[in-house]
Structures are given as C-alpha cells and as structure tokens.
Symmetry: C2
Subunit: 404 residues, 2 copies
C-alpha cells in the first residue's frame, strides 16, 4: 500500500466528464490499495477568465483581492471532484489551502510556502477518506487567502507529498510523459521512462511544457519522487529521479525546440562596466523575463548585446531597450520574433566534450545558420531561424540516436 | 455621519459595468460622509450555473462540498467589487463570511447564524476602509465554509447591521421599492415610502419579489432599519418600519397577485382525525412547500381538502397525494395549475372588519369566482382563475383607493 499525491488541473478537470474520469482513476488507485491525496487546480481556462473579468472591472489589482478572486477557481474544482468521488461511493473531503495547512508569506499573487501542517489531510486519510486539496493556495498569518502563482498547483503537490512523506507525487498533464523531442515534430520521438531532476530543470527552463520549475526544484531538494504522466491515457509516464553518477548516463536525453521567444539585438554599445546592468535592470523592473543573453567579443571597445524574451513581452521590451539605448549611446536596436531556440539536454554531456561540436556540425550540414549560442553543464541551446526549427529538431534527434 | 450596510446581489453585480456602478454609488455615499459596509452576493446567475455544474458532475451532493462550491461565487463578486473601489481611489477589503465573523451551525446548505463577531470589519471601518462582505456564508466550528441558503445575503446584511449597530440596512434590488401592486399590471401603482414589518412579511409570504422572509424576521425582531431600494435608479425606496398602533394606518397597503402556485383538491375524504396529517406529513417529508390549505365544512362525515403548492412542485405533489388518497380512501385527486392568488395586505385591516366583504363584492362585480379563501390578521387571499388575475388586481387596486 502506497501513499500517493496525485495532481490534476486545467484540461484534466475542464468539464464534468473529465472530472468524473479523474474520480474514476482515483477509484482504481484505491482499489489497488493506495491511499490517495488529490491536488486540484482550476477547471480549464477558468483562471484566465477570472483575470479577464478583473481587467474589465478595474485597472487596479490589489494583490489581496486578486488572490480572493483567483483562489475561488480551485475551491470550485475541488468541491466538484469530491462530489464525483462521493457519487462513486468514495468518501472524500475538499480542503482549501488554508484548511490543508499551507502557511505562506504575504506576497499576494506569488506567495511562497513557509510550511505545511496537513493535520486535516492526515485525519481524512486515517478515516480512509480521499483528501482533495485546492492547488496553488495557502493563507498568511492574517488568515487571508494567498495565491502561489500560475503553475503553483505542482508546487502544492510536491510540498504536500513532502509533508506527508508520500511514496510518490504524480503530476497528471495532457502529455504522457517526457519525450526525446516534441512528437509532433519527430514522429519517432520516444517517451523516457526516467529522467534526472537536473535534466528536467533544463527542459522546463527552455519552454518544454513540463511541471513548474519551482515544483521540480522543491522535489529535487527534498527527494520527492515525481511521476509525470497523462490524465487522458493513464499509461505509465516518466519518473524523475536523482542523478546517479555511478551509472552510465545517456549523453543526450532530448532535443527541445522552442518557438515562443523573440530576440532583441542592441548594436554598437560601448564595452564598459555598467552598460549591461543599465539595460537589464530596467527590463527586470518592468517584469520582462529575459532568458539567453549573449554579448559578442569586443572590437575597439564597441560590442553588440543580444538577448531573448518571451514573444508576448517583445513590444514592452523593445520600448525599454530603445529608451536605454539612447541613454547609453548605442547605435541600433533590432527586434526579431522569427527565431527558434533548439536545445540539447542530457546529464551525460558533462563528460562528453564533443556534443557541442557535433550539434554545430549537424546544423551546418543542413545549411542552418546559428545566431546565438548559450550553454549550461548539461544543455546547449542555439538560436536559429524559426522556419528551420523542424528540420533542425529532426536532424539532431537522428544524429544523436534518439529515435525509437 | 451614518454607518450604512448596503447589500447588492444578482443583477446588481451581474457584469463588470454593474460592479463599477455599485462602486460609484459607494463613492457617492462616502462623499456624503457615510461609513459603508457592503454585502455582496454572487454575480447574475452564477449560483444557478454552479448548481447546474454540480448536477452534471454528480447525483450525490454532499452538503459540505456543495457549500465549498457555492460560496466561491460570493468570494469572486466581493473581490471584484473591491477592485472597482480601489480603482476609484477608495480603500476596501473583501471578507469571506468566516473572516467577517459569521459563526454558523453545521447545517450545510441552509446554515443558521449563531453569532457574528465582526472584528475585522470594525478594524477596516476604523481605518476608513470599506468592508466588503461575502453574503450568505459563514463557517462552522470545524472552520468549514457554510452556506446560509438562497436569499441568505439579505440575512447576512441584516445580521451585520445588527452586530455593527448600523444606522440602516439598505437592500438593493432591481425594483425601486414596495408598490401598492405590480406596476406591470396596474400602471398607476404607487411606490410606498414606508411599510411595516408585518405587512412586508405577508407580502413576501405571497410571492412578492421582496427580501428573504428570514432577513425581514431578523430585522423585525431586533429593530434593524431596512430600506428596500433600486440598484438601477438609485432613487429613495421603501423604508420598513415598526408598526405603530398610535398612528392611523392605511387599511390596505397593497394588492399582490401571484400566479406561481397550483392547486390540488382531494375529494370525498372521510372527515376524521389523522386524515390531513397523513397527507401533509408525506408532502413535508418530500420537501413540498404547501401554502394555503382549505378544508370545506363536512357533510355526512365526508369533506374536500384543497391546498396550493409552487407550480414546479405540482407533479411531485400530485403523485404523493394520489398515493395517500388511495390509503385514506379518498375518491378523487384533481391538480390545477391555472390558478392565481390575489392578496390584500394591510396592517389597518385588523380594525376594519369590512375589508373581506368589500374584496368579495369587488370580485363578484367583475364576474370573478372565488375558489378558495384564506386570511391572516393583516391579509386576505383569494384563489381565482389565472386568466382573471389582471382584471382582479386592477379592480381591487381601484376599489381600495390605492391608485396614484
């Protein structure tokens, strides 16, 4: 008998039928003898709808009130899942973040969990009841509801698994696990049975539709066993495990294409201290999430700076960059949304220095020009033209022997 | 400077524009120097939509989970109203029923208020902030959310006005007050500037679209000053006052037509003890809300029993009545949805014995047959054919001098 935390959200609980499917899965888990704790986030697009409503009502969005509004979505979904379970003869209780013991800081909209005291969840389990916990929420010391932010339900699930010392934390999504690449791009992409935390973190960092990075970090830090799997096919997914240096690790785990970013290049910047800081401080203050930053080698004290931002932030980021460029005497600012980032991720890369060379060679053979390069110990990312993303992904998937 | 509790719900907060209208009204109230506490119920048809969703998910409706679901609607509306207030530069805080100090019993779906400890509301007021309280909800001793039932927001407003010792409790609706009759039936219907609690209770009891009876009873018992007014025209409405026997009271306040009921007649029942009990106990057990009951004078130990039920309960009530009729040896059961109830309400009626006679005479002059009669000290109701309701209402409104 295992204690399992199962997290469902969005499309998995989008309507009455999906909610009944989730309840039926819980029934099967119970029949196998497992104890189940559910973490549920809002139905379908409900969080987006609430944000749209708030925007229609007010330009001002006080954090406390936004959290009162947004956390209502998870409450609804939890109550409905409980009803579906009762309907199948399974006793269940819904718990808000506060009732489940999630104590957070006061940072409304993006609250951090301080601690979890899941007394009521444990009482429910002892009484052989399923505990259904509202995701991404808690309460501060004033007993006000706080929202952990988008994707916070993954963090709720991991934190609860940790607090309950659960045997596993299952994150149900609309994909059946982590693949060697996007199966829509490469039909012969393989599902990975396991992956290390480090690898998954590099993938989530480059736009792979995977668990919230924050939840993976918590799971990694505290050794929570994660299982990423599908709420539509219910098949075994991908386990996330601790990297084990004693084992021979595959060099490359996956090829990850990402076409959601855009590039900004500032030309002919004076190469002196403080120039980069001036720009990126302004961008950070405006909440623009800058990702890759590349500064070319300086020639005659003049350099170019390129960086990527999410495509939806391009207009704002361009405006800010133009303003700063004027101040620092840069010559030109170019915005370019037509880019793709192709990343290779693999923990084995650390001990195989030839990976980058092979990647560049493969792209070159396919006449694909590399515009920017950035690397981590277990990842190499190249910025290329967006229309070449499919060719690049297929070529790399083949070249590194990832095909089935 | 007055402390005013203002209650808005349903159509008054149906969309972003209406919510901003409510906020603007609060701004004007504050400018006049009033302290304002708001009670907000769910937007538009949201409660109905949540009930529909629950029905799609599950046949089982555990009370605790239904309350978790339904109370989410009020939370959303409160948060949005707060945002609209902030947008107008008015500091405001939303409070759930629990946060506003509503302690209730465990009767989920129809919880009773045990006491109100509005500490956080008072703190907000002291800081010159508008307190925005979620209607129709509280928490039980287990700290679970409880729902006070449909129309419970009126009760929240009255209970809060009482706990805060407010100067007035304003219930905003989509009509501009209490009228001498339905203005759609009689164009010369007049709005009443004041009405007694007893009169309003008789009106709410006969289907007039007025505050929840429970809230009026609480206001009457504890002397809370009620003001029923419009959230669309913002004009002065109708004040509900304590009946004052020292004042000359108008004989008749209003003519109230109600076409939402149906009639069931059981013929040739043995006139012996226990027969009526057998029938009405079964109906009560099935949750059918029986209203008027008339039993004719017995002839030869055989009698007829007629009663009215809400039209939507007619099928269920008929089935039960047929079953019981068989058991008690009654000859026939007739169901009739084509009825109307016309009521005259007025506290002055007590000291004017001729009212009933004048009512019957007026109906007779218009060739309208009376099928059932029931009376209270301040109300006379007659059941007539439904298609005669308009004629009857107009004739009585004229005969009792209620026209403008």
């Amino acid at each position: 008998m295992a204690l399992v935390v199962q997290k469902f959200g969005g499309t998995s609980v989008a309507d009455a039928e999906r909610i009944r499917e989730v309840a039926d899965h819980v029934r099967r888990s119970k029949e196998r003898g497992d104890e189940v704790v559910l973490v549920i986030s809002a139905m379908g697009k409900e969080t987006d709808e609430l944000l749209t409503l708030a925007a229609a009502v007010s330009k001002t969005r006080p954090g406390r009130e936004m959290d009162m509004l947004i956390t209502a979505g998870e409450r609804k979904a939890c109550a409905l899942v409980c009803m579906a379970l009762h309907d199948m003869g399974i006793a269940a209780d819904s718990f808000t973040g506060k009732q489940a013991g999630f104590a957070t800081d006061n940072n409304h909209g993006n609250a951090k969990i301080i601690d979890v005291y899941p007394t009521r969840v444990q009482t429910a389990l002892k009484a052989n009841r399923v505990a259904v916990v509202a995701g991404s929420q808690g309460a501060n010391t004033a007993e006000d509801d706080t929202f952990l932010g988008r994707g916070g339900s993954d963090t709720t699930a991991v934190a609860l698994a940790l607090a309950l010392n659960a045997d596993a934390c299952e994150l149900y999504t609309d994909v059946s696990g982590v693949f060697t690449t996007d199966p829509r791009v490469c039909p012969d992409a393989r599902k990975l049975t396991s992956i290390t935390f480090e690898e998954l973190l590099e993938m989530t960092a480059v736009g792979c539709p995977k668990p919230a990075m924050r939840s993976v970090e918590v799971a990694q830090n505290y050794g929570v066993k994660l299982h990423i799997r599908s709420a539509f096919t219910w098949e075994q997914g991908t386990w996330v495990v601790k990297g084990d240096s004693s084992m021979e690790q595959p060099i490359i785990r996956s090829v990850t294409p990402d076409t959601t970013e855009a590039k900004i290049t500032v030309s002919k910047v004076a190469d002196r201290p403080g120039v980069a800081a001036a720009l990126f401080q302004e961008l950070a203050a405006a909440g623009v999430n800058v990702d890759m930053i590349v500064q070319n080698a300086s020639a005659d004290g003049i350099t170019d700076i390129s960086f990527t931002v999410p495509e939806e932030d391009l207009t704002l980021a361009s405006e800010i960059t133009h303003k700063v460029a004027n101040n620092i005497g840069a010559k030109n600012v170019a915005a370019d949304p037509q880019i793709a980032r192709i990343s290779l991720v693999g923990a084995g890369m650390k001990s195989h220095p030839g990976v980058a060379a092979k990647m560049f060679e493969t792209l070159s053979k396919n006449n694909i020009n590399i515009e920017m390069i950035s690397t981590s110990p277990i990842r190499i990312s190249c910025i290329i033209r967006q229309h070449e993303a499919t060719t690049a992904t297929q070529a790399l998937h083949e070249a590194f022997g990832l095909s089935a």
